[in-house]
């Protein structure tokens, strides 16, 4: 009885001790860079210090970190690391060689407040140049720091106009690092080479592009050594190959001298032309030009641009298994769709008030967002592997430049110089080994 009474009293008194969970809204008025220290451990080494500097450059690119590089002794104690916290470095990355042969670099990320190691990895050098090592290490560091995929060991390809003696211009295909550094000419044949597209193999990069000949516009494939092979050589135009993530399915444009540009889907078994007849208007894809195809991650959907229904280019998605066409845009002038498998979004350009602007389409939620509002025309965009950047060909006052659009910050970063005419950008996958052009 007494115990029951006690229990009753306790039950009554308990609610007074309960704490209520509240959802508080905190407005982060400003964004700030996170301070980070890159420590080079051991005796001074030129290569390792250079790698540290290059990693600093990579990590600073996104605008999320404020980085300092510092050399340290080989012996690193907890108290030394905790001192860094007092110097306002909450995160520290330490680099050191693991052996005397200096074939492998070890990196460790520390939470300096508790002198606790968060992550660490040993990187065995791939390739011969320290830029490649630094990009590879930055790629492995990046997910730990930001939770995003690394994009430093990528390459961008674009066309560069080269004036010739006849007063016209040829177009060469150049490749460069993600930030436009280390530019190299990959294709320099004395003709017009346009619309480069990368394959999806992360170990063997191949570039597909269209080359103007006297008879047709053929599709040519080249590797990083400059070995070229003809990929498609039909009458008319052959261009814009797009691969699925596994690299086993491909879709490209070809006219086959029929007057209009059509889409051709190819897998291991067969090749077929994509056909569709609109039930309302009886218009078929053959009635218009169909260009800029891109395959979804699993290769079951093709996103492309066509004017077969309205006479103006619109974005459509075609489901290969169901042979069903779905309009994504229904008005205006929309072109150049490009699919991001990471975010499941589609970027495209749309003419708004006479200016081609970048727009984004969320495929899952079926929502369109206009990304840019400035006065320059944007054309031919390409996603970064992480889905945070868009490579765009920008045209303003007769100048064509490649620029990078940062989606989180909504800022543009020019990749090519103002004095050269560049267009048709394409962003590659993140490669296991940093690719370099070795033409003979």
């Amino acid at each position: 009885m007494i115990y029951l009474l006690q229990l009753l009293i306790l039950c009554v008194s308990l609610p007074s001790f309960s704490f209520y969970l509240k959802a508080l809204d905190v407005h982060a008025s400003t964004h700030a860079k996170v301070p980070l220290l890159i420590g080079i451990k051991g005796a001074y080494d030129t290569d390792l210090t250079e790698v540290g500097r290059l990693i600093e450059k990579d990590l600073t690119f996104s605008g999320q970190f404020a980085i300092t590089v510092q050399n340290f002794d080989n012996t690193l104690t907890k108290s030394t690391i905790k001192t860094l916290f007092k110097k306002a470095y909450p995160i520290a990355v330490f680099l050191n060689y693991t052996d005397d042969a200096r074939n492998a670099i070890e990196w460790r990320v520390y939470d300096t407040m508790h002198a606790q190691m968060i992550a660490g990895k040993k990187y065995t050098k791939r390739g011969n140049i320290n830029v490649g090592w630094a990009h590879n290490i930055a790629d492995t560091l990046w997910p730990v720091l930001t939770g995003q995929l690394g994009f430093f060991s990528t390459k961008i390809a674009y066309c560069k106009a080269i004036p010739n003696n006849k007063g016209t211009s040829m177009k060469h295909i150049c490749i460069a690092d993600y930030d436009g550094n280390n530019e190299q000419v990959l294709v320099n044949t004395p003709t017009v080479n346009i619309m480069p597209r990368w394959n999806k193999d992360t170990h063997k990069p191949l570039l597909f592009y269209s080359e103007y000949t006297n008879e047709n516009v053929r599709m040519v494939m080249t590797d990083m050594k400059g070995n070229r092979h003809i990929a498609a050589n039909h009458d008319g135009i052959n261009m814009l190959a797009s691969f699925s993530d596994d690299g086993k399915k491909v879709v490209h444009c070809a006219s086959h001298d029929n007057g209009t540009c059509q889409l051709y889907y190819q897998d291991k078994k067969n090749i077929k032309r994509i056909t569709y007849t609109d039930p309302k208007t009886n218009n078929t894809l053959m009635d218009g030009n169909n260009i800029s195809p891109c395959l979804s991650k699993d290769g079951t959907t093709v996103y492309f641009c066509s004017d077969f229904l309205t006479g103006h280019p619109q974005i459509y998605s075609y489901h290969l298994q169901e042979e069903r066409l779905e309009p994504i845009t229904t008005g205006g002038y929309c072109a150049c769709p490009t699919y991001c498998p990471r975010t499941n979004t589609l970027a495209y350009t749309k003419r708004i008030n006479g200016v081609m602007q970048l727009c984004l389409y969320d495929i899952a939620h079926k929502k369109h967002v206009q990304l840019t509002h400035d006065a320059s025309n944007k054309d031919e965009c390409s996603w970064s592997p992480c889905g945070n950047y868009l490579l765009v060909a920008m045209e303003q006052a007769g100048q064509n430049r490649i620029a990078m659009y940062n989606l989180p910050t909504h800022a543009f970063h020019y990749v090519t110089a103002a004095c050269v005419q560049c267009d048709y950008p394409a962003w590659s996958q993140t490669y296991a080994t940093y690719p370099m052009v070795h033409t003979t």
Partner: protein, 316 residues
């Protein structure tokens, strides 16, 4: 009671009675210790933080009894804001709301950036018999003016309602003269009462306010209503202070995903210095966790957190 007199109680029963009394006393002592000792010493508080912008004002409606938090929809708003309105008046309000909604829609179409709902005040419907309304609207508990927020104008109206019901005896109507008589009351109260005096009756006041609230919600620019019991008011303001302080110091980097969140537990010493700050649930994004922790370390911790520990969940 005669039976409980000492001479009538048998020794066996007396023993039981003594045991019961001792047990009760011990228990009360234990409960008191728990209340004063446990709460201030060992307890941990949990808060959730978001970094998205909060542009709207927060209005607190102090409820004398335990209420569930009000959802942001119109129907519940009517129920909680004007509990005293009779069914007939509720119908009136409902029709009023319908007309107001259409008016708002029209106003939105004409002028997209509508900021205030003041024009609607004039169009307040006629009130029900005020005696009834006051009798129902007046809560039994008295509410001290300290915890009443004074920022937003609509808040004042609500306070005025509560204050009025507390001090003024149930009269059929409240006039301006009746408020002027009580000179010795603080200025704040007089202002509040003048507010009431401007409107014909409390019922009308309630209805007008409910309309304002509905309008505000409709326009999505007005104050957010949070209804909390009186006993939670202190915690609410503590959290508000914490929120403001944190928002001043939290500067996360760009490009953080909307889905990530991290929980940080902070142990504060008796002198207000952070003894330890542990990331109890990481977001998996180191820079995000670190920025959140840096905000806690940089902020000036409020007095109530001293010698205490609290966990904060940061959500973008």
């Amino acid at each position: 009671m005669l039976l409980w007199q000492l001479k009538n109680v048998r020794n066996r029963h007396l023993l039981w009675l003594k045991l019961l009394a001792c047990s009760l006393a011990a228990h009360l002592l234990f409960v008191a210790m728990l209340f004063f000792g446990y709460r201030d010493g060992v307890s941990s508080h949990k808060f959730t933080m978001h970094n998205h912008s909060l542009n709207r004002q927060v209005m607190v409606v102090l409820a004398p009894t335990m209420h569930k938090p009000v959802a942001n929809n119109v129907q519940t708003k009517q129920m909680t804001l004007a509990p005293s309105i009779t069914s007939a008046n509720q119908n009136k309000v409902a029709t009023r709301v319908a007309t107001l909604k259409s008016a708002v829609a029209k106003a939105k179409a004409d002028r997209p950036a509508v900021a205030k709902a003041t024009p609607v005040k004039k169009a307040a419907p006629k009130a029900a018999p005020p005696k009834k309304v006051i009798a129902k609207a007046a809560p039994a508990k008295t509410i001290p003016p300290k915890i009443v927020p004074t920022k937003a104008v609509p808040t004042k109206v609500v306070e005025a309602k509560i204050e009025k019901t507390k001090t003024v005896p149930p009269k059929p109507a409240i006039t301006a003269q009746s408020t002027e008589k009580k000179v010795e009351q603080p200025k704040e109260l007089i202002e509040q009462k003048n507010l009431i005096a401007a409107s014909p009756t409390v019922a009308q006041q309630i209805m007008t306010q409910s309309e304002q609230m509905i309008l505000a919600q409709e326009q999505n620019n007005g104050p957010i209503q949070i209804e909390i019991p009186y006993t939670q008011a202190r915690e609410f303001y503590q959290q508000e202070a914490l929120r403001k302080e944190l928002s001043r110091h939290w500067k996360p980097p760009h490009g953080i995903s909307d889905t990530c969140s991290c929980e940080i537990t902070t142990y504060v010493g008796n002198n207000g210095v952070v003894n330890d700050c542990v990331i109890t649930q990481s977001s998996g994004i180191l820079m995000y966790d670190v920025s959140a922790r840096a905000a806690i370390l940089a902020m000036e911790l409020p007095r109530w957190t001293w010698g205490d520990s609290f966990a904060i969940t940061f959500k973008p």
